[in-house]
């Protein structure tokens, strides 16, 4: 594998609420390679966003707290960094874009002002240079007439344009890692296709690692190199995108793929996974997926599944493939 730029080990982020401890992220491991695109996939509330926010130490505290684990960015443990250092890394080294660009842009400043502020903040250039850089960034993300759009306020732009402006802002300091938190969820399919084109283009033109959070497998197949499937705050399966789509091992992943509508088959109803996401305050023992799993073994109720390596780079957390599972 290529050089690893972000290494996460046993990350645990809990939220201490009145009703109990929510283990939103409970022991997540993964590596992000240089100029690699890793997709985080999972249902709502499975800890994708919390994982991303934990990387940048943006968990609201209280109630949230990163209770354990290590996050190495180029051999620098981000969890041990003083707040000042983390702040300099945010945006400059690791940038993040959010799901809803409408609310992620400040309504009282023009698009241009917001990009310029970003450039000035991290690169310390003069306003004039920052303006030129801002215009070229807006051009890079495919905004026509960037000089004009720079003078618009967020509410004057369409959803797609806003999302592009948000991407331009996050690219302003040429970050090493870009975290995209469901950037295509709040836009319609046409805009979604355009946004995905921009990401593909950025992947090709910039030497940037991309951590792409989504719940749509169709998007993963379009952009991802590797994929990490999360369930209930834990990793279920991680492998390359083509391997996962053709040879899913974890029952959860397999059912997810089975749920995708297939144009070649005639079906009355779409497939679903029975049951709902488990409560993370009072999670089921053992494997979190066992109440919904049709292949569940007795051991799944008792013990947390260990990582099982199927092939090089394909790891699955499931008793079906472990030795204990075979014996039981």
């Amino acid at each position: 594998m290529t050089d690893v730029i972000l290494r996460i080990r046993n990350l645990r982020t809990y939220f201490f609420t009145r009703r109990g401890i929510v283990k939103a992220v409970d022991g997540v491991d993964f590596d992000l390679g240089k100029s690699e695109c890793l997709c985080l996939v999972g249902e709502s509330g499975c800890g994708k966003t919390v994982t991303a926010l934990s990387i940048l130490s943006l968990i609201d505290s209280p109630p949230g707290r990163i209770v354990g684990g290590e996050i190495y960015y180029n051999n620098l443990n981000l969890l041990e960094c003083p707040p000042d250092q983390i702040r300099r890394i945010r945006g400059k080294e690791i940038a993040m874009i959010f799901q809803d660009a409408q609310s992620a842009l400040n309504p009282v400043f023009t698009i241009g002002d917001q990009v310029v502020e970003q450039v000035k903040l991290h690169l310390g250039t003069t306003t004039r240079e920052a303006k030129e850089k801002a215009i070229s960034l807006l051009e890079e993300v495919g905004i026509p007439t960037p000089e004009k759009v720079a003078n618009y306020y967020p509410h004057q732009l369409s959803g797609g344009m806003r999302q592009r402006a948000m991407i331009a802002m996050s690219l302003s300091c040429d970050p090493q890692i870009l975290i995209a938190d469901e950037p295509t969820t709040a836009v319609d399919v046409t805009v979604k296709a355009q946004i995905m084109d921009i990401f593909n283009q950025l992947k090709n033109t910039r030497q940037m690692s991309l951590l792409f959070i989504t719940h749509e497998l169709s998007i993963v197949s379009e952009i991802g190199d590797r994929i990490l499937v999360m369930y209930g705050g834990r990793v279920a399966e991680t492998t390359t995108v083509s391997e996962l789509l053709n040879n899913p091992k974890h029952p959860y992943t397999a059912s997810l793929i089975k749920c995708l509508p297939d144009i070649t088959q005639v079906r009355d109803r779409l497939e679903t996974i029975p049951g709902t996401v488990p409560s993370l305050i009072d999670p089921p023992g053992g494997c979190l997926f066992h109440p919904r799993c049709d292949k569940a073994l007795p051991i799944c109720r008792e013990e947390k599944p260990p990582p099982v390596t199927i092939t090089n780079g394909h790891t699955v957390f499931c008793h079906l493939y472990s030795r204990k599972g075979e014996m039981g």
Binding site: R90, N106, V108, L121
Partner: protein
């Protein structure tokens, strides 16, 4: 690109630099004058004049360009606010008052010049019967005094022109309102936004402090401080400012609480903005409309507080504020009623004008109101 266009662009780039240079030049000049003022000549300008020159330069160099940049927004809000007739009337009266305070003194006589020949003259169009004791005859003679065009609002018991006093009092009241509100709003905004943004313990500490300040009878404090340090207008303004921020802090906090959870705060954090930066350039600009409304609505309260203080005899005796004139007039309310009525009417109109304008602005800035 043509050569001419290039030149324009070049000049436009330079403007930013020229602005800063101009500001530094004006400030340097002012510094020299101040040094001369202190060490060589006595009293070129009063302290307030320096403050006004600094504020005026700031406004011309930085305020006007940014107002021009957001002219579309200002036009929009003006359209909304101008549908409220009372607000427009209030604004007109306030502008008239400001103009009166600035250029009025150039046309009136000295408000402090006493002239006992012309004491107790009624306003023009009114007559007054006055009994005068004649020493030679030892008898009372009654004669009628009619108001003259020379003193349109009449004179007081020392023969000072009431119109000139009212005009100079307008300046005092407006300045008191402006500076005390400025201090109060600045403090309240900073404390409110900081409490909302930091949350948790800091929020608790700041808000409990606000509660304590709120329950404190500030008028008593004012009386107490004036009693100890003497009646000095600057002192009074500062004390009103330092005690009047509590309501602002509460309002701004509650508005900022909902802003804090908006995604753009998280987004700018994720892109490396510091806490200071988020407070100053993300939260405060988003509550600016609320700040304008609170400021407009709290100016009359401050003006009234100063007037009340003067009325009970704790005002600055060297400054002829409306409250001081009112106090002087109320002792002879049965005969020379105009001395008290004139400043009273002005106070009433001013307070009303600010309240109308504030209400109009509040409706204009509220996106939920359909006006």
């Amino acid at each position: 690109m043509t050569n001419r266009f290039k030149n324009i662009k070049h000049i436009a780039r330079k403007v930013g630099m020229v602005k800063n240079l101009a500001f530094i030049a004006v400030m340097a000049l002012l510094g020299v004058v101040l040094l001369l003022d202190i060490f060589v000549v006595e009293k070129i300008f009063g302290l307030l004049v320096y403050l006004y020159i600094v504020l005026g330069t700031l406004f011309i160099l930085y305020g006007i360009p940014s107002l021009y940049a957001s002219r579309r927004l200002i036009k929009y809000y003006w359209q909304r606010a101008s549908r409220n007739r009372l607000a427009v009337g209030g604004l007109a009266f306030i502008l008239f008052l400001i103009l009166l305070a600035i250029i009025g003194p150039l046309f009136t006589t000295d408000p402090t010049a006493a002239n006992f020949e012309e004491k107790n003259l009624p306003p023009v169009g009114f007559t007054l019967e006055e009994s005068v004791y004649d020493i030679k005859t030892g008898q009372f003679t009654t004669h009628r005094i009619t108001g003259t065009g020379e003193h349109p609002v009449g004179t007081d018991d020392k023969g000072r022109d009431l119109l000139a006093m009212i005009i100079s009092g307008a300046g005092v009241s407006l300045q008191v309102g402006l500076f005390a509100t400025g201090i109060a709003i600045a403090l309240g905004t900073l404390i409110g936004v900081t409490a909302a943004y930091l949350g948790g313990k800091m929020d608790n500490i700041l808000m409990r402090f606000t509660d304590i300040m709120m329950t404190f009878p500030f008028f008593l404090l004012l009386v107490f401080i004036v009693f100890i340090f003497g009646p000095n207008l600057v002192f009074i303004v500062i004390v009103i400012g330092l005690t009047g921020w509590t309501g602002t802090a509460r309002l701004i906090r509650s508005e900022s609480l909902s802003l804090r959870t908006r995604e753009f705060v998280m987004a700018s954090k994720a892109l490396g903005a510091s806490d200071n930066r988020i407070i100053l350039s993300h939260l405060i600009p988003n509550v600016i409309s609320l700040i304008i409304v609170i400021a407009t609505l709290s100016i009359p309260g401050v003006i009234l507080a100063e007037a009340a203080l003067s009325f009970i005899g704790l005002g600055d005796p060297n400054v002829a504020s409306w409250g001081m004139i009112l106090r002087a007039g109320q002792q002879n309310l049965d005969t020379t009623w105009w001395v008290a009525v004139a400043p009273g009417v002005m106070l009433f109109l001013t307070v009303l004008a600010f309240n109308f304008l504030g209400d109009g602005l509040r409706d204009a800035f509220d996106p939920r109101s359909n006006i």
